[in-house]
């Protein structure tokens, strides 16, 4: 059995002219900022676009981003990776261990290495032994947890006196582009519509940035470049699209899958390291990964298996999470308001395209959100922590998806056995 996500029906050929991917991404970003700044102005919630918010978004989105990049590498090579969570856990242990003995960079390397080992195990199971990808992933999540606990008891407890935590470890220093940041800060304080909002959001991204964050952000274009512009990347992706064809052209499918899944683990391990090595982070702490691997996987699918898309997914999640943490219910309500604005724009677009049903759906959604905004001063506090999850679903429901899933994903490929 192979579990495959919705495959696009190739008989449905869209021959329509479309904007190139980067342009659409940029357009969406502009629309999003416009909507946010309008909402923040109309609801008097500057937090929607403050530099603190974008900074926390970056920080909370970082582990998810790295996990998502890990997911991208594996899934592009045709291997489903539910085991990201376990690989991240291994990464947290490894990075704490490395950082304790050798400083942050050693910590980062060790985190990557441990995640990579998790990835290799997945590769052995899935590629060499043809194990169902989900079973292997679930097993790796178990193993990651167990092994990290086991090692923590063995190694950390004697030092920290606590089997669940490591001793304090070194953290990455942060850097600011002082001049730029000051200038943006001045702009932000001027409280001018849109301009100040953009300045605020940008400023958060140039102040208190750690090298790890920079590396992670660079990994997005780097992944794009490697996977889409190099021969290695082409071969890797071909394994996810049609391993038989790849093999028939002399591509060593097993090797590429191995590399991809190991790299996937490495990135996930790096994601784990980002939980440990950033200022305000936890050192090693049992259970600190707490589902971020799954969220990373979701962000990757959200981004339609593309680097820029998964960056959007992780940013959205981090943004909404940061917002609910620092702004609470009021900020979330303001976000609702923003969503109403966004829906209004979409409804207009759909009306222009004469998609009556879609427009009606948009109107209904906007009405519900506006009603929530209007009738509540505070949302139920129990639900607020899950704002990012709601936001993700709503955005997807609105944007819809034409998923381009790697064709051979989840397939148990055996050399010489076709179909």
């Amino acid at each position: 059995m192979s579990t495959v996500m919705e495959k696009p029906d190739p008989t449905v050929t869209t021959s329509k002219r479309r904007l190139p991917g980067w342009a659409r991404g940029a357009l969406w970003a502009v629309v999003a900022i416009g909507v946010l700044s309008t909402a923040s102005y109309l609801t008097d919630m500057p937090i929607l676009t403050s530099s603190d918010t974008s900074q926390t978004a970056l920080r909370l989105g970082l582990p998810i981003l790295l996990a998502a990049i890990g997911g991208l590498w594996a899934e592009r090579a045709g291997v489903m990776n539910i085991g990201l969570e376990g690989m991240m856990i291994l990464g947290t242990w490894g990075s704490a261990w490395g950082a304790y003995y050798g400083g942050v960079w050693v910590g980062l390397a060790a985190g990557i290495l441990f995640g990579l080992l998790g990835g290799l195990l997945h590769a052995v199971a899935v590629v060499t032994f043809n194990v169902n990808h989900i079973v292997s992933g679930v097993a790796i999540n178990l193993l990651g947890l167990g092994v990290a606990q086991y090692l923590a008891t063995l190694v950390f407890e004697p030092i920290s006196g606590n089997p669940r935590e490591s001793p304090p470890v070194a953290k990455f220093d942060t850097y600011s582009a002082t001049f730029l940041s000051d200038w943006l800060g001045a702009l932000e304080d001027e409280q001018r519509v849109v301009l100040s909002d953009v300045a605020g959001l940008l400023r958060g991204l140039v102040t208190h940035v750690s090298p790890l964050a920079m590396i992670a952000l660079l990994l997005v274009p780097a992944s794009y470049f490697i996977l889409w512009r190099t021969r290695f990347g082409l071969r890797l992706r071909s394994c996810g699209e049609s391993p038989v064809a790849a093999e028939s052209l002399g591509v060593n499918v097993y090797l590429h899958k191995y590399i991809a899944v190991a790299a996937s683990g490495g990135f996930a391990g790096m994601g784990g390291a980002s939980l440990v090595l950033l200022e305000g982070g936890a050192d090693y702490l049992e259970n600190q990964v707490n589902g971020r691997g799954y969220i990373g996987l979701a962000a990757m699918i959200f981004g339609n298996y593309r680097p820029s898309g998964l960056l959007g997914g992780a940013a959205l999640f981090g943004y909404a999470d940061g917002l609910q943490l620092s702004g609470g219910g009021a900020a979330v309500l303001a976000l609702c308001y923003g969503a109403v604005l966004l829906l209004a724009i979409i409804v207009v677009l759909q009306l222009i395209r004469r998609h009556w049903w879609a427009a009606a759906g948009g109107v209904a959604g906007a009405a519900v959100l506006y009603w929530i905004y209007w009738t509540n001063d505070e949302l139920p506090s129990d639900l607020i922590p899950y704002t990012p999850h709601f936001v993700t679903i709503i955005v997807l429901a609105v944007a819809a998806q034409r998923l381009r899933v790697p064709k051979a994903i989840g397939q148990q490929y055996r050399r010489g056995e076709d179909t």
């Binding site: 190739p10 008989t11 449905v12 050929t13 869209t14 021959s15 329509k16 512009r229 190099t230 021969r231 082409l234 071969r235 992706r237 071909s238 699209e241 049609s242 038989v244 064809a245 790849a246 093999e247 028939s248 052209l249 002399g250 591509v251 381009r404 790697p406 064709k407 010489g416 179909t419």
Partner: protein, 511 residues
């Protein structure tokens, strides 16, 4: 004429699969610069032999020598190094990758991935007649272009020995001619070809030598100039070459299917893939639709089957009483229940559940009908029994009905489908490329069955790229071009060439 020396020599090749010996002591000698055809029935072991030569499968016994040296081909890379390239029977293309990516894959080392590679690709595209943007996704290409991409792939790698495994099965005559032209010009440049086809006329037209394989072993090698197609077929099967001719007409005046002013808009809404299509099929009549792939035949068939929703127009079908009933709003299942049988053009995509046993495939499309189902409940015992009947009547070669459909050779898969679709006592059969990729024996059987059913009053809507088949079987031929039915031809008088020019629109422009 001096005999050129052999470039490829296969000696004593034996290959076993679980349950099957695909090749047994096969001998094959190919000389430099020739086009060497390999013929044989479905499942005779042709593809397996070629895969062995291409390093995709390892022989259990036997040796391969290329250019006079014994080589061991452990994987395609070895074969590519030895100058061998292969165009597979089932396209080996990654749909989600672009044309350029598909071509470059695995051969990035030759010309890099930049300008040089582009230039080479452009040159080869030109040579093979591939006129598409190298950045389009393969998913969006038609079969002929896919075929060309496959050939470009091989040439890009600098192969001097090219294996073409059933390259013509999906091509229309003009495309076949274009392909053959390419082959000939390359032959002149010193390329060597191994060519597989079930169309014996083609084999005779292009090949310098023909090796016939029967039941996994070589029967002999002949000069195509000196044998007739009939003789070739006899070598393969020991039976006569069938022809798809229909003699006496059985056409009645009772309409079974009436399609009126059917329109289907493309998914993005700004053009029509079917435009104002009207046609009638009467009981006992076979209406053939000719057309170059991609002109709306697929869509017509799928709209009549209810798999696509018509944007305008009506589809009417005769009920058991004989009067026409509007079925435009019915779903596929309801239409099937109303008496439509359906042989889909792509048996793997639309015809079969490849990982299910044969008897399970017998149920598909008939899950609500006796004998295999009682409406809500499936009756596996009855399904097994009826599948055995189909296997028997339609000569499906299989060890049993528990075999997975995917393990059957293409011809036998097709016979199973034909058997199934004629079991439901349909009033209308929609047959799209019913004999594509099927060997001569199986082809004869399928034609025979269709004729018999027609004789009993079945109405048939036949879509085929095989013009001989179309002319031979049809009572009326309609030509489809860009989503419209543009002309009509009398099968008694029309020649394939005329039909071919009508299909490409040459006739229309002239008129």
């Amino acid at each position: 004429m001096t005999e050129p020396e052999p470039v490829v020599e296969l000696t004593g090749i034996t290959k076993r699969f679980p349950g099957v010996v695909a090749n047994s002591d096969v001998h094959l000698t190919v000389r430099a610069g020739e086009v060497h055809a390999v013929c044989g029935e479905n499942g005779a072991g042709k593809s397996t032999l070629m895969k062995i030569l291409y390093g995709m499968q390892q022989p259990d016994e036997g040796t391969i020598s290329v250019g006079g040296e014994v080589v061991e081909l452990r994987n395609p890379q070895d074969a590519i190094k030895a100058g061998i390239g292969m165009v597979h029977q089932h396209f080996m293309l990654a749909d989600n990758l672009t044309v350029r990516e598909n071509v470059l894959l695995g051969a990035e080392g030759l010309y890099g991935m930049g300008r040089k590679a582009r230039a080479k690709l452009a040159e080869l595209s030109d040579r093979t007649g591939l006129h598409v943007d190298p950045d389009t996704l393969v998913e969006n290409l038609g079969v002929a272009d896919r075929q060309r991409v496959e050939i470009v792939k091989v040439l890009f790698r600098g192969a001097r020995i090219v294996i073409l495994d059933e390259p013509t099965a999906v091509l229309v005559p003009q495309e076949v001619d274009a392909l053959f032209e390419t082959v000939r010009s390359m032959q002149a440049d010193g390329y060597t070809f191994l060519f597989i086809s079930h169309k014996l006329d083609e084999v005779r037209a292009i090949a310098d030598e023909v090796t016939v394989i029967r039941r996994g072993t070589t029967v002999g090698t002949v000069d195509p100039k000196e044998v007739t197609s009939r003789q070739l077929a006899e070598m393969m099967v020991g039976s006569e070459l069938p022809s798809p001719e229909t003699r006496e007409s059985t056409v009645t005046d009772r309409p079974v299917l009436r399609v009126s002013e059917l329109r289907l808009d493309a998914d993005d809404g700004d053009r029509s893939v079917l435009d104002d299509v009207s046609l009638t099929v009467r009981a006992g009549e076979i209406v053939g639709i000719a057309g170059v792939e991609g002109n709306g035949q697929t869509e017509l068939v799928e709209t009549v089957m209810g798999m696509r929703k018509a944007s305008a127009g009506t589809v009417e079908l005769a009920s058991s009483g004989g009067e026409l009933r509007d079925i435009t709003r019915l779903g596929t299942l309801a239409r099937r229940e109303a008496g439509i049988g359906y042989i889909a053009e792509d048996r793997h995509r639309h015809g079969l559940l490849l990982r299910q046993p044969l008897w399970s495939n017998r149920i598909l499309g008939y899950q609500t009908r006796e004998p295999v189902s009682s409406g809500r409940l499936i009756n596996p015992a009855a399904a097994r029994q009826d599948t055995e009947r189909v296997v028997e009547e339609y000569d499906v070669r299989t060890p049993g009905v528990e075999v997975l459909a995917g393990a059957l050779s293409g011809g036998n898969q097709q016979k199973l489908i034909v058997g199934r679709e004629l079991s439901g006592e349909p009033v209308l059969l929609i047959a799209a490329h019913p004999t594509r990729g099927v060997d001569v024996g199986a082809q004869a059987l399928i034609w025979e069955q269709m004729r018999a059913a027609r004789h009993n009053g079945l109405a048939v809507l036949l879509v085929s790229a095989d013009l001989d088949e179309l002319i031979g079987l049809s009572d009326t031929i309609r030509v489809m071009l860009r989503g419209r039915l543009v002309s009509e031809a009398d099968p008694a008088t029309v020649t394939p060439t005329e039909l071919g020019s009508a299909m490409t629109g040459a006739g229309e422009e002239a008129a």
